[in-house]
């Protein structure tokens, strides 16, 4: 057939029919591999999600070093006042962290999204920096700043006031709360600013015309519209703070303020009582489930989103002279959460002895040399962190992607169930997950204790929820008709995935990989019970350094971790665009 503009004559169709025979040869293969894929994904999920959780629950009822079932573990776990106290302490701490984090995050979110406060881009970067600094590093920074007497702030105070003791003690409940809030307020910031971006200015204009000033309008109109998002963020912060291990290990133990995670850790000191730990971990799981249920209801119901809507113009609120107090507040939050700890960490990492201060004679690169070239454990740990993190990120994304595809494209019934399993680890604090993996895979026939495999598997499980959310969003962004167009033209589903879906997913996947790699690289709580002498990761070596009082070398190792993190984030900025970490998936 030719494409002359002249219509074919009577012989035209016949002629084209014969060409057509050749053109429309079937090309697709007849095999449908999706059931096989489903079975593979399901098997993997059983191995890395279902079994560890099941073993966690079961082992909490097992007789230690024996056979049969018992409730003795629960009695051991909750029979002592000290253990119950730790649980209550945790709730007090988490409440404090949530409130302080909201105090940090909400004004900043409003100011960066809705106002003409100066330095908005800087503040957004600062919030991100506070988040990608691992919380245990923030804790070390604050030890340097506000350790009793020796901390920088205390020394400055003593020099200024002439008194012979400092006034700040970071080893306290308030210290704990400040450090955690300084890392976790990121979540509230992201939830709130994403919601604020959806509200049109008309709502505010209505109030402004009635004579309310900018702050009154924000308090009475704007913020109430995003309450569900704020509370959603607060709940995430609450849950994260009860699950953190690093900061309590550094701060709460010296402060003699036991919390659940430090107590869990103690069950793992010899003699290891994993069954009691399992019993003790379950309430944490319960709290998490309950709060996430609450969060879902808050964010789903009430129709706030329809109120906010998509349409409508968004204009920036002019703060006038109030820009400067607002900016000052943002700087204070930046200073507390990231600037001050980072400055002293960098100083320590470049010092012979951090307490000697900023002098030329104190300046050295020895600490970096030490962690990079001398200290075998630190070297191994750097490699381990990157390799485990990278592998786990890849594995969790591959699995999540397969499942997200099956769900979003309705390829198979029952895919939704796999998606549910992918999201399950979200409700399991890292330390609890580690207890589950310990119960499931350190005994025969697996005997994976101390191997790289168990660490990578546990990391993979831990990362699955973020990986799944990002994969699902990525696939949802590709119109199904893109694939159908391939198929109707004669390509199989595999061809459609290879030639269209995969190329289009590249960018979102790079973003997703970074989002899972960074926490994996910094992971502490999942690793702590599962690593052996050869499989330790950076965070654990830092804890060792801190116990040995080698804060300079710790800071240097932290510096290495931060350089890796920042390099990856910048790569992400380049490839995916600046905002990819500051939005809710």
């Amino acid at each position: 057939m030719s494409f002359n503009s002249k219509p074919p004559t009577a012989s035209g169709p016949a002629h084209s029919r014969s060409t057509q025979e050749r053109l429309t040869q079937p090309t697709g293969r007849g095999w449908d591999l999706t059931p096989l894929l489903w079975i593979c994904c399901a098997a993997i999920l059983v191995f890395i999600v279902v079994n560890p959780v099941a073993r966690l629950v079961l082992s909490s009822f097992e007789v230690i070093d024996g056979t049969g079932y018992t409730v003795d573990n629960y009695l051991a776990a909750f029979g002592r006042w000290r253990h119950v106290q730790a649980l209550l302490n945790t709730l007090v701490m988490a409440t404090g962290v949530s409130l302080l984090a909201a105090l940090f995050a909400v004004p900043l979110a409003w100011a960066t999204v809705r106002t003409d406060m100066p330095g908005r881009g800087f503040v957004r970067l600062g919030v991100l920096a506070a988040f990608i600094t691992p919380p245990y590093l923030g804790a070390v920074g604050w030890i340097l700043l506000a350790g009793p007497n020796a901390g920088w702030l205390n020394k400055i105070w003593m020099a200024a006031s002439g008194s012979d003791s400092g006034i700040l003690n970071i080893f306290s409940l308030s210290g704990l709360i400040l450090i955690m809030a300084g890392n976790l307020y990121f979540f509230i910031f992201v939830f709130t600013s994403t919601a604020l971006e959806l509200i049109s200015s008309e709502m505010e204009d209505a109030a402004n015309m009635l004579g309310a000033n900018a702050f009154r309008t924000a308090m009475k109109i704007t913020l109430p519209l995003v309450y569900p998002s704020i509370i959603g963020g607060v709940i995430v912060v609450f849950l994260q703070s009860i699950a953190l291990f690093g900061v309590p290990a550094l701060i709460a133990i010296p402060a003699r303020y036991p919390v659940v995670t430090t107590q869990l850790w103690q069950f793992f000191e010899s003699p290891v009582r994993a069954e009691v730990a399992a019993a003790y971990a379950l309430p944490l799981l319960g709290i998490t489930l309950a709060l996430l249920g609450l969060q879902r209801r808050l964010l789903a119901g009430r129709g706030y989103t329809t109120l906010a809507g998509k349409g409508g113009e968004r204009r920036i609120v002019r703060l006038g002279l109030w820009r400067w107090p607002m900016f000052a507040y943002a700087i204070v939050v930046m200073a507390l959460s990231v600037l001050m700890p980072l400055v002293v960490l960098v100083q320590a990492s470049l010092s012979r002895a951090w307490g000697r201060g900023f002098t030329w004679s104190n300046l050295t690169l020895d600490n970096y040399h030490f962690v990079l070239f001398e200290h075998v454990q630190a070297q191994t740990a750097i490699v381990n962190s990157v390799v485990y993190g990278g592998t786990a990120a890849m594995a969790s994304l591959a699995l999540a992607l397969c499942i997200a595809y099956m769900v979003k494209r309705n390829v198979m019934r029952g895919a939704q169930m796999l998606a549910f399993l992918c999201m399950t680890p979200f409700v399991i604090p890292g330390l609890v997950l580690a207890v589950g993996f310990y119960a499931a895979y350190t005994t025969p026939p697996f005997s994976l204790a101390g191997t790289a495999a168990i660490v990578i598997l546990a990391f993979t499980t831990r990362l699955l929820p973020i990986a799944y959310q990002n994969s699902a969003a990525g696939i949802a962004s590709i119109h199904p008709e893109m694939e159908e167009a391939v198929r109707i033209l004669g390509g199989s589903r595999a061809t459609a995935i290879r030639r269209v879906v995969a190329p289009l997913l590249k960018r979102p996947l790079v973003g997703a990989w970074i989002l899972v790699f960074i926490p994996a690289c910094q992971e502490l709580s999942t690793a702590i019970f599962l690593t052996g002498p050869k499989t330790r990761v950076m965070s654990m070596v830092m804890l060792d350094f801190s116990e040995e009082g080698r804060l300079e070398q710790l800071s240097a190792l932290g510096g290495v971790l931060l350089v890796i993190t920042v390099a990856i984030v910048i790569l992400g900025f380049r490839i995916v665009g600046r905002d990819f970490m500051l939005r809710r998936a």
Partner: protein
């Protein structure tokens, strides 16, 4: 022999029958539209033809070969059809030429031939100069042309289009529907075209199948659909109309205010005692005097009760003086009547269409 045959085609979603017992023969080289309101099952029908959805009952055959049935279907990639999607589904990671040539690559044609065929078809859709652009740089209309070129270059046995123009603005829509018809004249590919826009269906199709609630109500040429609608739904959906009820009175059908010999009306069910007829506002005429020359038309005195000027015509509502008859009447812009003026309505009984 029809190329494409739908037999008792049904697709149920739970209790809802999205497509309900559809019988349709589409002839070789024919351009057929599925026309109906949103939710009537057009897309579901089309996607069953394409093989993306399996029927829950009935079959789809091409040249006598069963492609779809409740017990299994040939997958879309082995049907030799093409489809144009509502979203265009142009692959953003490929250039215009790569998009258009993709179906030929899948058919393993030598690359020289692919290049030549792609060049030809791009010229046909007037995109020759844009072959190496990426879709993101194209306007909506141009993307639409890429989709068209991509679909016809493989010489499909059947071309399927699902509301291809709904994302374009009005001017472009008109241009593109002419273009689609032109391509059909040139290549005579058997085409099934889904739309909810009657003008689009009228302008492009050889025949129109009007769908309602999963069923096909009437399949006919555009003029017949308009002039001789068979059901109340078709009469109301295609253009505007007046429905009037009549009763049989011996050899006459008596309407409110006038009567017509039953013999003069087509399709009157001899057994029914009441009938409904449709009469288009365009087929009625108004005049201020009683016309001298009746010419077989029925003349009814009355007055104007409402009027709306729409630029291209007037919409009047006429109320008969001695009965409850009220009719919408469309008149030329120059036929001006004030509200409440006495007028005469002329109705040609040939324009009365009996509805089932």
């Amino acid at each position: 022999m029809p190329t494409l045959r739908l037999k008792n085609l049904t697709r149920a979603y739970g209790q809802i029958r999205a497509v309900d017992n559809v019988d349709l023969d589409i002839r070789d080289g024919e351009f057929l539209s599925l026309l109906g309101p949103s939710g009537c099952g057009k897309t579901t029908t089309l996607r069953m033809i394409a093989g993306f959805i399996d029927p829950s009952g009935g079959t789809i055959e091409v040249d006598g070969r069963v492609l779809s049935s409740a017990s299994g279907s040939v997958p879309p990639e082995r049907r030799g059809m093409s489809m144009i999607f509502q979203s265009y589904a142009i692959w953003p990671n490929m250039t215009v030429a790569e998009n258009v040539g993709f179906g030929l690559v899948l058919r393993k044609l030598p690359s020289a031939e692919i290049k030549q065929r792609v060049g030809q078809v791009l010229d046909v859709v007037q995109l020759g100069t844009l072959a190496h652009r990426y879709p993101a740089e194209l306007s909506g209309g141009q993307q639409q042309r890429v989709a068209l070129a991509r679909a016809i270059v493989v010489q499909p046995s059947v071309l399927l289009l699902d509301e291809p123009l709904s994302n374009l603005d009005a001017n472009l829509r008109e241009e593109m529907r002419t273009e689609i018809r032109r391509l059909h004249e040139a290549f005579r590919i058997t085409t099934v075209y889904v739309t909810h826009d009657q003008a689009e269906a009228m302008a492009t199709s050889d025949r129109i199948a009007v769908m309602n609630r999963g069923r096909v109500e009437q399949v006919d040429a555009p003029y017949t659909i308009y002039a001789r609608p068979r059901t109340r739904f078709v009469a109301g959906f295609i253009g505007r109309t007046n429905f009037i009820e009549g009763r049989r009175d011996r050899s006459q059908i008596r309407f409110d205010g006038f009567a017509v010999d039953a013999a003069r009306l087509e399709g009157v069910d001899a057994t029914a005692s009441t009938i409904t007829a449709s009469v288009r506002p365009q087929s009625l005429s108004l005049s201020s005097e009683r016309p001298a020359d009746a010419d077989g038309r029925i003349q009814i005195p009355g007055r104007i009760v409402e009027r709306t000027f729409l630029g291209e015509h007037w919409d009047y509502v006429f109320a008969a003086a001695s009965s409850n008859l009220r009719l919408k009447v469309a008149a030329r812009p120059s036929d001006v009547f004030a509200v409440d003026t006495d007028t005469w309505l002329a109705l040609d009984p040939k324009q009365l269409v009996v509805i089932q």
